[in-house]
Amino acid sequence: MATKKTPKRSRRNKKTVKPSLTIKLFKFLLKLMLVAVILMGLGLIYLDNQVRQKFEGKRWALPAKVYARPLELYVGRPLSIAELKIELRGLGYQFVKKVTQLGQAEFSSTKAIISSRGFKFADGVEHAQKLILEFSGEMLSGLSDHRGTSLTLIRLEPVLIGGIYPLNNEDRDLIQLQDAPQGLADALIAIEDRSFYQHHGVSPRGIARAMWVNIKVGRFVQGGSTLTQQLIKNFYLTSDRTLARKLLEIPMALLLELHYSKDEILEAYLNEVFLGQEGARAIHGFGLASQYYFAQPIQELKLHQVALLAGMVKGPTSHNPRRYAEKAKARRDLVLKALYDTGKIDEKQYQSAVAKPLGIVKQASLLKGAYPAYLDLVKRQLRQSYDDEDLRSEGLRVFTSLDPIAQNKAEIALLKTIKNLEGKHGEKVKDLQGSMVVTEPQTGEVLAIIGGRKTRYQGFNRALDAVRPIGSLVKPAVYLTALEQGYTLVSELDDSPYSLAIKGSPDWQPQNFNHKSHGIVPLHTALAHSYNLSTARLGMEVGLDKVINTLQRLGVKRPIDSYPSLLLGAQGLSPFEVATMYQTIAANGFQMPLRTIRLVTDSVGEELSRYPFKLKQTISSNSIHLLQYSLQEVTRVGTARSIYWQLPEHINVAGKTGTSDDQRDSWFAGFTGNRLAVVWLGRDDNAPLPFTGSGGALRVWTSYMTTETLDSFTSVAPEGIEYLWIDQESGELSAETCLNAQQLPFLLGTGPTLSVDCIGQNKEVSPSPPFGGWMNNWFR
């Protein structure tokens, strides 16, 4: 110090020689000081402004949250206890012997008691309450509250299935101070900043104590930063350890304390703090950390759990309980000790908490990230109406129609069937891939999407992006075109060898699958058994352009090449596009966009946009009825008849198998009254498969459908349709009592006019019960 002052003294000496100069210098210094004070003042004002602006503005870029559909509970709803468990697991409910708090569920063989958490939907609040659910078989048969009052309709909270993160990849669920259990604030204060409620942002005692500890240990172990300083550091400043940063930290902490209450600061801290890393995603704030480590909302955490989280503030990576369980437990116990020492908990609480295990959930049980293929489609649909920036920062809430139960079942069906196929075919099915789309045919909502056999892998989404030849799945479009042009189900088609001359190319000579021709066949038989020769001939007769037009009316938007090979499915489509096409058939000729998003709201639940039920009739109900009949023949007697080896006879199913050239793709698209599913199996390298559509994809489809509670597909015969008894051999009119008679639908007045002689009485058709009664029910 002394040496520094020496030159000043010498200057002063000079001043005595030239007093005017001294005065000048004095004045100059005065001005300089004034400027410095003004600058400092300005700096403080600027700093103050910064502190306030950021604290009062939008503090964080909040990711959009994407939710599954809420499970609707009402008496009569098809729902088994096993299905309810899938849903509750997704919601992080704890299965206990006796429900005592929110987010718990208990089960007996026909009953479930759940303590729901409640949720604020855009159209109303569902309150948290204890629900008593009774089941009979696969149905919800009773629903009441804890007083036994029966309830009409309840929505459980929706499962959070993912987010769209800010560019810094910070993910957080904002909480309010009152959401956090008291133990959390106590624990943080006890372990990080004991004088939090006394100091003004900086704690000289804290710093002194930290220095003393550091000196004692001989190295830097404590920083002495208050919670306020820590917040400043994380919230306002960069993570660089520079002197400038250190110098700014203290005035900013003081300013923050000047403007805001302790509770406001603590709340910001709870939401800001970094608590873990999952791949690129950074876990910030206790709200998300609670979900991330315990799959429970913060309100439900117990003392030992909050102590663990509070302890992790020190070093979320080095104390990661999933990787360093022992270290994390030691730190947790230290926090508990601090709580005990500060008198926040008594000895009993302390001993009981210390004895508890960490209780961390496996990462896999979190459903966030479990549905990458579905989320992919949601994002694509969102980007049509929202800026990427808004999706990443505005905390939007996106409510989708994903059904976690259906998705779970579809995944099991796909993976199990692939495993079976591998067992049967070995090397020939190496690297077999598959994808699947499941929809509700009446509403057009997408319930489940599988993009590949690694269902949690965020890579290539085959359901949307694998555009593969659809094979015979195209045939309904060919036959529909013919039916619209006046063909009937018994129109005679020629299934003899066919050759078409194409200019500049070799002749087109399609083959039947078995390389046999079938001569003259009725139209409905050709479709049921997927004959190629008759289909090719029929398609050329009705016209390629007409077939393309039909495909477009069925909902295919992709440009389609007008080649004859189109008629046998050379055109590539994605499973999602196929689902769109079959959806129109299932919905009686009403084209409807397949929807994944129901509603988007802002971060507080105000509606921003909705995606309502939309539809447009593009095919007449008469024509579609004839096609629906034929597609049911496919499943009853045609290429997909194996369905009824597993599904009960009373469930009507319509669908079509598809196999591309050289068996490179195995397809099935089909629907019941309440489920439509499209399955594709194949290899990414396009190698041939040892099975067809019915040998592969159909098995996945059937396996899935056996796990669902199905409604039979039933469409009412439109007024323009009549059912006639037809002789199967000749295609002429027959009678109910004749052998070989089958009832077929016709447009009014287009049925055959000639009758065949009844070849023989089919005696068993006479009204002798039980068959007669059964028949009469069907054929009334």
């Binding site: 539809l615 198998t657 469409s715 054929f779």
Partner: protein
């Protein structure tokens, strides 16, 4: 193994013969996916993954067999009308709140309630009737008409309902300025 197969096959054939339709000859089945070898494997019960018992074939069943059930059910004839099942209490509640919301001018909320009702009871005509009316209020006449047409496809064979829906379509077309279309719809309505 062969003897075993024959026993199983005859059991299966016998069983299906007892339960399905009387014999109707279909001629030989020839598939797009033609199979060569008759092969039926016994059905076994294995325990499934999710607490449920799953009935599954020990290997594969499907088109691989030429074994036919002799009386495969033909496609059931479509009924000429399906009366809507009695309304579920949840659907009644949703329809009621939609009515109140519509009266209170909360059209979006009414739409939400009706779509909830639709998911529970997609064959309930009143859902489509009320939804079409909400779309009229929202002045989306094109969608209102399509929703009403969907209703028509559900109430086939029920004259009263058809009259109601076609009258609604006539009204929609009138407010949308489609006079000739409205006249046509009115004519259809008058047939019932």
């Amino acid at each position: 193994m062969n003897t075993f197969r024959i026993v199983i096959v005859s059991l299966v054939v016998g069983f299906t013969g007892c339960t399905a339709l009387p014999p109707v000859s279909q001629g030989p089945i020839e598939d797009h996916d033609v199979m060569i070898e008759p092969e039926v494997e016994p059905t076994v019960i294995i325990s499934g993954v999710d607490d449920d018992i799953v009935v599954q074939s020990s290997s594969e069943i499907g088109e691989d067999e030429l074994i036919e059930k002799p009386n495969k059910a033909i496609v059931p004839v479509a009924p000429s009308s399906i009366e809507a099942a009695p309304k579920n209490a949840a659907v009644v509640a949703l329809l009621d709140s939609a009515k109140q919301q519509k009266q209170g001018g909360e059209l979006r909320s009414a739409q939400t309630s009706l779509q909830r009702a639709q998911r529970i009871a997609p064959r309930e005509p009143e859902v489509y009737y009320d939804l079409a009316k909400v779309h009229i209020e929202l002045e989306d006449y094109g969608l209102a008409e399509q929703v009403a047409l969907k209703g028509v496809s559900i109430v086939q064979g029920q004259p009263k309902q058809l009259h109601k829906f076609w009258t609604l379509i006539a009204d929609i077309r009138t407010v949308a300025g489609n006079k000739s279309g409205a006249k046509k719809a009115k004519e259809i309505a008058d047939r019932y």
